[in-house]
């Protein structure tokens, strides 16, 4: 049966599908911005070159560097950490180990210099940094050649 037009009304194009599509696009962009969002930052120092400093400051009475050096290396494809207390611990157990070692010390007074041997990934270094940050250590430096 053919529908008859009501002569009292102007029939424009149906905008409902366009509005549907536009809203879907809008939701897509809003969601993608949310997914891009969860990024945050860990502060890290880049220490000065020790060799250059030694050449400039030739002070025989200079105090030893109070910075603790923590080294990350790979042992049979497992990341291990050394330098904080005795022994070598796996990165997975580093938090408990580090918490024990710095017990009773103001963590903000500790300077840590992180270095890594070949094969260690950036994720491993960031994980160690993350652990130390959680323990309250604020002065963390990344070793650079």
């Amino acid at each position: 049966m053919r529908r008859t037009r009501d002569p009292r009304h102007i029939y424009g194009p149906n905008l409902a599908p366009m509005v549907d599509v536009v809203l879907v696009i809008l939701i897509f962009f809003m969601a993608s911005i949310v997914f891009v969002g969860p990024e945050w930052f860990l502060p890290a120092a880049i220490p000065a070159d020790h060799a250059a400093e030694t050449a400039e400051v030739d002070d025989p009475y200079a105090l030893p560097d109070p910075t603790l050096s923590i080294r990350i290396s790979m042992n049979q494809n497992i990341p291990v950490v050394s330098g904080l207390g005795a022994g070598i611990v796996q990165l997975d157990a580093f938090e408990a180990h580090a918490a024990k070692q710095i017990q009773g010390i103001d963590p903000q007074a500790i300077n840590i210099r992180l270095s890594a041997q070949d094969g260690v990934t950036w994720q491993h270094v960031v994980t160690a940094q993350d652990v130390l940050t959680r323990l309250g250590v604020r002065n963390i430096a990344l070793d650079a050649p």
Binding site: R8, H9, I10, G12, L15, M18, V19, V22, L23, I25, L26, F29, M30, S32, I33, V36, P38, E39, W40, F41, L42, P43, A44, A45, I46, P47, A48, D49, I72, P79, L91, D92, E95, A116, Q117, D118, G119, V120, T121, W122, Q123, H124, V125, V126, T127, Q129, D130, V131, T133, R134, L142, D143, A144, P145
Partner: protein, 139 residues
């Protein structure tokens, strides 16, 4: 007092034009924001961390580091730079946000840190992806 009905143009549908205007503006806004964000944030898999802060410095330089095959690719705010030009490129920035791929070997990233240090950069802000799991959701 009874409200007088606005003069009808003959359509019984609600007027969708203002809504479409607003929605189009929002889409343009998100397109622009998405474009700006992608300029600064290369397509990287960031390392995960359970700590960090979300403060963003508007004048900071985003240094993105990743491996393309065996070659190291460094870009600053979306513009590729040679490693030797990294220092002069970021020198004017108020801060450096370091975004490096999680799987990047540290020995490949260390020269980037060395270049930054030689340019007078004494600290960086390491970009990570938020993780609620301890140890960044696995090492």
């Amino acid at each position: 007092m009874r409200r007088r009905r606005p003069p009808s143009n003959g359509s019984r549908h609600p007027n969708l034009t203002p809504m479409i205007d607003v929605v189009m503006c929002l889409i343009v806004f998100y397109l622009l924001v998405g474009q700006l964000a992608s300029d600064q944030r290369s397509d990287l898999t960031l390392p995960r961390s359970a700590t960090g802060d979300e403060r963003l410095d508007a004048q900071a330089a985003f240094v993105n580091v990743r491996l393309d095959g065996d070659s190291l690719v460094v870009d600053v705010d979306g513009t590729l730079v040679a490693l030797s030009r990294l220092g002069p490129t970021v020198r004017a920035a108020s801060a450096v946000h370091l975004r490096a791929d999680a799987s990047l070997p540290y020995e490949r990233l260390a020269p980037v840190l060395g270049e930054l240090r030689n340019a007078g950069v004494r600290s960086v802000r390491v970009a990570t992806e938020q993780s609620s799991m301890p140890f960044g959701g696995g090492t």
